[in-house]
C-alpha cells in the first residue's frame, strides 16, 4: 500500500495553490477595474455625445425618458452645458426602467432614430417636455407620431430605423452597461468617472471641477 501520496504530490499541491491564488487575484483585479470604470470606454453614437472632445469635465448621463427626476435633471444638465460651453462634454446613455415604465425602451429607440436624422435633442426635448402625456399611456404610438411631425423628421426613415434590430440593440447595450456599472436609479451620472445620483449630487460633484476651471 502506498501511503505517502501527499508527500509525493507536494509539488502538484503547491502549483494548485499558486494557480488558485493567481485566479483569485486576477478575478479580484478585473472586478475592481470594472467597478472603478477602468475598462474600455463604451462609446455612444455621435449624436448623443455633445461638447468638445477634450473637455475637462465629462458627464455621462444614464437616463430614462419616462422618469420625472430625469426630466428635471436633463434641464439642469442643459443649463450647465450652456453656462460652460467649452468645458463640458455630455454623453447621453439610455437606462430605461422597464419594470415601471413600459414605453421607455421605445422612446429611447425613437430618440436614437431621430438622432440618426440629426434631431436627437429636438426629439428628446419633446419626450421630456410632454412626459406625462405618454409615459403611462396605454397606447402612446399616436403621441410619439405627433412628435415625429413636430420635430420635422422623415417618417419613412424613422420607421426603417425602428425596424432595424441594431436600434434596440444599442439601447439594450446601454442598459447592460448601466447594469454592469451598478446603476439602480435614474438619473445616474458619472462626472469624470465619479458617480452622482440625481441633479443635486451632479451639481455637488461638478462644482469643484467648475471652480477649478476659473
Amino acid at each position: 500500500m502506498k501511503i505517502p501520496a501527499i508527500k509525493d504530490n507536494r509539488a502538484l499541491y503547491r502549483k494548485l495553490a499558486a494557480a488558485a491564488a493567481l485566479v483569485f487575484l486576477a478575478t479580484l483585479g478585473t472586478l475592481l477595474a470594472r467597478h472603478l470604470n477602468l475598462g474600455p470606454e463604451r462609446a455612444a453614437p455621435a449624436f448623443r455625445d455633445t461638447g468638445p472632445a477634450g473637455a475637462p469635465i465629462v458627464i455621462e448621463e444614464f437616463t430614462d425618458f419616462a422618469c420625472p427626476a430625469c426630466r428635471h435633471a436633463y434641464s439642469g444638465v442643459k443649463e450647465i452645458k450652456k453656462a460652460y460651453p467649452g468645458a463640458v462634454r455630455v454623453i447621453f446613455k439610455h437606462y430605461p426602467l422597464t419594470n415601471i415604465h413600459p414605453w421607455s425602451v421605445e422612446a429611447a429607440m425613437r430618440a436614437d432614430c431621430a438622432g440618426r436624422q440629426g434631431k436627437f435633442e429636438e426629439y428628446a426635448n419633446l419626450l421630456f417636455e410632454f412626459q406625462r402625456d405618454w409615459a403611462m399611456e396605454r397606447e402612446p404610438g399616436k403621441i410619439f407620431d405627433e412628435y415625429v411631425e413636430k420635430a420635422g423628421l422623415d417618417r419613412a426613415a424613422l420607421d426603417a430605423c425602428l425596424a432595424d434590430p441594431g436600434t434596440e440593440r444599442l439601447v439594450r447595450g446601454d442598459m447592460a452597461e448601466g447594469d454592469m456599472r451598478g446603476i439602480n436609479a435614474t438619473p445616474t451620472f458619472f462626472v469624470n468617472g465619479r458617480r452622482a445620483v440625481g441633479l443635486g449630487q451632479l451639481v455637488d460633484k461638478a462644482r469643484p471641477l467648475i471652480i477649478s476651471l476659473k
Binding site: K7, D8, L12, T30, A33, R42
Partner: protein, 165 residues
Amino acid sequence: MKTLKAASFAQWAALAGRAALCLVLAWAGFLKAAAPAEEFAYAIETYRLFPSWMATLASLTVPWAEIYLGLLLFLGLFTRLSAALTGALLLFFQLLLGQAMLRGLPITSCGCFGTARSNPIGVELGLNFLLMALAFLAWSRGRDLLSLDGAIESLPSGGGGKERS
C-alpha cells in the same frame, strides 16, 4: 529549470511566446470581461452557429478563461496544460472565423477584443495562426526557462508531483 546562460534559442523563443500569448490573451479577455457581456454575446451570435443562450454563456466564461490562461502561461504554471488549452481555444476561434469567411457572413467585428478594436477576418486568421505556433512552442519548451513549474519542482521534497499534462 536551466540557467539563463545555458538556455537555447528555442527556450528563449518559448519564453517570448509565453509573454506574447499572455499579453494578447489577458488583454483580449480583460477588454471583454470589463465590458457588458451582451456585446460579446452579440459578436458571437453574428457567427450564426450557436443559439442565443450558448452565446451568452460563452460571453460570460470565455473572457475569464483567456485572462487565466494568459497569466498561467506568463508565470509558467501548469505550462503544458495551459498551452494545450490555449491552443485548443485558438483552434476553436480559427474554425469559427474560417467558417464565417467561407460562408461570407457580414461580420464587421470579430469580437476578439470586444468592441474596442477589430481587424478584418483575414488578419485575425493570420494572427491566430501565429498565436497557435506560439502556443505550440510554449507547450513543447515553455517549462524550461523562468517558469513557476520548474521553480516549484526544484524546491526541496517537491520533486514527486510533476505536471500530468
